[in-house]
Subunit: 327 residues, 4 copies
Amino acid sequence: MTNPYPRFGAGLWHFATYVDRYASDGYGPARTTLDAIELAGQVGDLSVVDLNYPFTPGVGLSEVKDALAAQNLAAIGITPEIYLRRFSRGAFTNPDPAARKAALDLMHEAAGVVRELGADYVKIWPGQDGWDYPFQVDHHALWKNSTDGVGALAQENPDLRFVIEYKPREPRVKMSFDSVSRTLLGIEKIGLPNVGILLDFGHSLYGGESPADAAQLAIDYGRLFGMDVNDNFRGWDDDLVAGTVHPIELFEFFYTLRKNDWEGVWQLDQFPFREDSVAAARAAIEFLKAVDRGLERLDFEAMQKAQDQHDALTALRLAQQALFSSL
Amino acid sequence: MTNPYPRFGAGLWHFATYVDRYASDGYGPARTTLDAIELAGQVGDLSVVDLNYPFTPGVGLSEVKDALAAQNLAAIGITPEIYLRRFSRGAFTNPDPAARKAALDLMHEAAGVVRELGADYVKIWPGQDGWDYPFQVDHHALWKNSTDGVGALAQENPDLRFVIEYKPREPRVKMSFDSVSRTLLGIEKIGLPNVGILLDFGHSLYGGESPADAAQLAIDYGRLFGMDVNDNFRGWDDDLVAGTVHPIELFEFFYTLRKNDWEGVWQLDQFPFREDSVAAARAAIEFLKAVDRGLERLDFEAMQKAQDQHDALTALRLAQQALFSSL
Amino acid sequence: MTNPYPRFGAGLWHFATYVDRYASDGYGPARTTLDAIELAGQVGDLSVVDLNYPFTPGVGLSEVKDALAAQNLAAIGITPEIYLRRFSRGAFTNPDPAARKAALDLMHEAAGVVRELGADYVKIWPGQDGWDYPFQVDHHALWKNSTDGVGALAQENPDLRFVIEYKPREPRVKMSFDSVSRTLLGIEKIGLPNVGILLDFGHSLYGGESPADAAQLAIDYGRLFGMDVNDNFRGWDDDLVAGTVHPIELFEFFYTLRKNDWEGVWQLDQFPFREDSVAAARAAIEFLKAVDRGLERLDFEAMQKAQDQHDALTALRLAQQALFSSL
Amino acid sequence: MTNPYPRFGAGLWHFATYVDRYASDGYGPARTTLDAIELAGQVGDLSVVDLNYPFTPGVGLSEVKDALAAQNLAAIGITPEIYLRRFSRGAFTNPDPAARKAALDLMHEAAGVVRELGADYVKIWPGQDGWDYPFQVDHHALWKNSTDGVGALAQENPDLRFVIEYKPREPRVKMSFDSVSRTLLGIEKIGLPNVGILLDFGHSLYGGESPADAAQLAIDYGRLFGMDVNDNFRGWDDDLVAGTVHPIELFEFFYTLRKNDWEGVWQLDQFPFREDSVAAARAAIEFLKAVDRGLERLDFEAMQKAQDQHDALTALRLAQQALFSSL
């Protein structure tokens, strides 16, 4: 019997603890890569994880492989940490050529780990590429460095997929890859088949996009290589538990994926600063299962007909009834 | 002797009065197209205006020509009002094909007026094209209608330029052409040489863009066909007097234009709801003249050097000194 | 048999048509006060309406009385239009003393209508009291005029209640009575028993408040005299149909009212620009009935226990299950 | 000869290095309290600093005294770190009574340090007091704990001043003391003379307030005990260098202080993540000196006259000319 639900995944950082500029001693005791894998296994519904790289000090690749196997987990992607101190003034766009090279080296290394683990992609999350002040950068040069860097990386690793996770800001006051459209513009300029988007629902939401519209656009360009979900209050990347604040827009997001027969993993990108991370993952997956059941119940034909007339009241009634009765 | 300053222009609506959903009796007595032209003439520094079309009832094209001539003004563009009641559910994307056709007819008519007046462009401002609610529209279809519509129009009028003025929202809760990147994606898809962007500084600012970065991107694609300025508080299209709230970012915007040898008209798009419209235009132009003088004073080489190092403090000191000493 | 649901009401403007600065010809043909009352009657679940004053030209008080009676409606409040052209630079704070006096006169007149109709309150919605630009006003004087004006009005009409509907902005770029806390500060300064707050859910939401927290605070000061609901995208007063975007926070709002035994009318303040207004009201009320049923199902004791521990995951699961199973 | 300028100060954290959830290895090598004091001394224009407490491990009070003396600095305040891990679920409002007690103990300890150093105030910055999710907390209880806690502290230390630094959010998704009005409401409820506000310009700006209006209100209640400045993009507490983005509103803020004869220290609260911290402080002070000179040049009488008429254009011209000619 096949699993009735989509495959679920999570960024492994979901099971880490965090620091910020205030709780500089961390929201809990530090955890190793292996600790986090064990917690991911406890969730019970996860099939895959996306792992930060480098692993925590002292943890080797073979240990990671064993730990994943022990939890019945596979790696879906590797996220090289091109946002640590070394790269705080940029990875692809650092004014220091040595830092740029170090970032590329780290990403090539991550590519090797992707091959070793049989994962799907190298995640590119250029959180330090951007600017903080007016007049700080030459915008032409900054963007060129951004796309040239990704392009070079993708060209030298044609056997792998590279997914860009765009975000409006944080940690930079403004990030270069800030929106679905900007990222697609860049990808089209690069012109390689192995560069795509990992669409984070929350980044899209707080960037003022409709995540459903963003997903549709990325799909129309054949570039929606991955996605993950969470929630926020539209002003910041709060990385709250999915479905807790904006259930309707989350449902519209998955409706759009289903309608387009998009069949990737439903991943979580949550930061449970003050919550139990296993419980936070389970709460989200419980909601996502309801979303999946809701899509089964939804009358797609009636929805299409309502949308063809831009009939919001009918469309929303259909959506509310399908989703809420599935919880 | 040549004029030491750039050419200045304004949307003719700057000299109208306004209604909104509260002051439904208007912020002042209604003005005709001819009244507005006369007020535009009183500013003293304007060379061109962008005119709404249709003109107010009873005003004919020849009268408009005469009125412009009397004020020593030329038409730079025509803005067909594809956002009135007839088009409140969309112009290019209206679910009613008859409304879509009416919108295209009006734009073709506006194209004729552009030819008659020897203006530069037909302005496309699709403020009613978008959506209000989650689930309201099929995003694929909506975007396709948006780009197909603009494409058809541009193809049938290859002798004219069409400029799209993007904006995040208002009057729709969300507009289709919402950002510089989305608009460029659409324009690239259309693939015609006569479609470009009219970049409104305030739309960019409150959309979370850096207007300077947006201008650079549009220039890099060869699509910056026009621009206008104003100011706001980054949360709405307040259309305040240029330079009153964000002088530094306005200066960076013009710095970017100058650096790229962009030589179009410096237009105003202000809505002085409660101010004297001639005084509001003069206040803005006074500031823009200071911007122009500031650009003369600015050490472009030193600025480039600072930006190459992402040295915000040096770059900002250069910018502040050049601009503020020019007021 | 008693009605199982709370009493429902609506601002009569819900059934008007609207203009804005783009669709200056209006989103539909103009409607009279009597037209709107008839539409309100068609909703079927409304018990009361809040009426703008003056009525549309040519409509007298006795006609309004008859029209209300014919639809089985009562007046809950009167909203004097202190935001029309005459007051576009302020009602209580207009720099012109004659305009200030005219505003007060209109409000006194509205007080008379409240008495005639046996309504509950005069609504004070000072949308034009505030400022647009930095440096525009003397903030001490502006705020003093705001509170002095309301105080004088309330003192001269001690038999009536005056409710202030605060809002962050629109039509002014910034309003004086902008938040629940500012308004309570003002009310405490005024120090009269007959001045309170009408809390608009959407104003609170897009002002960055938690509407539930705002309601609790107003209740703790004994000043929650009324409320109305709608929805938006947290960036503007979109006045969308209640429950369509933020169902959870709407439920938390009503949970807070119920927990405090607050027993007023559940009013609608929606602006269905492009929707059928009767259908939009019915859709909202259908949702509000589900909210009411959800409150019946909700385990208040378990919720309190979860909240005492700040246990968000448990609290949200309780809320989701109670609300969504009630739709 | 007296110093022509106001006294300048800074939060000592200005001279620390930072971590965030991405650059978890920090934006630079860790610095001790003593390191930071030495850097503060290098600025050259600082008279006072506000110190975090506890000091970095191994640094004692007498060393701090010596270090301050060596740099010719005095302590203006002490900021107990009631936002570290121990207090991540709240200081005054933590659901765990032991954590609440620990927070109060730390603040009492800080009060002792204030006495020892002859400083002016204990800073209360309750960044972890608030909530993250809808339904998470009982808002009545949360606010009562907030004000009761501050009240108890102030009552037990009547010889000292306690200043609350409000902020909309971060690190909590929503903070209890979120705005000037809410904080004043709480202070009035507490009813003690030794509780006031430390107004952070940037917190006010990104909270949607006019910082000038906020300052005026706090002054009108006799509660403006301190202030600090920085800049941001109105969406987050970016803590950028003062004057770099919003010079006009910064000038209006100081204009309001001067007009009310407020004579406290002009403090900096900047987080130069990627800049040299001494250079960042100097850049800000250079700007603040221009602000001070600008206030000398400004025609206060003409400004008042313009503001009495709500004449934004005249008021802004006066302000621009006074400020910009002073740089």
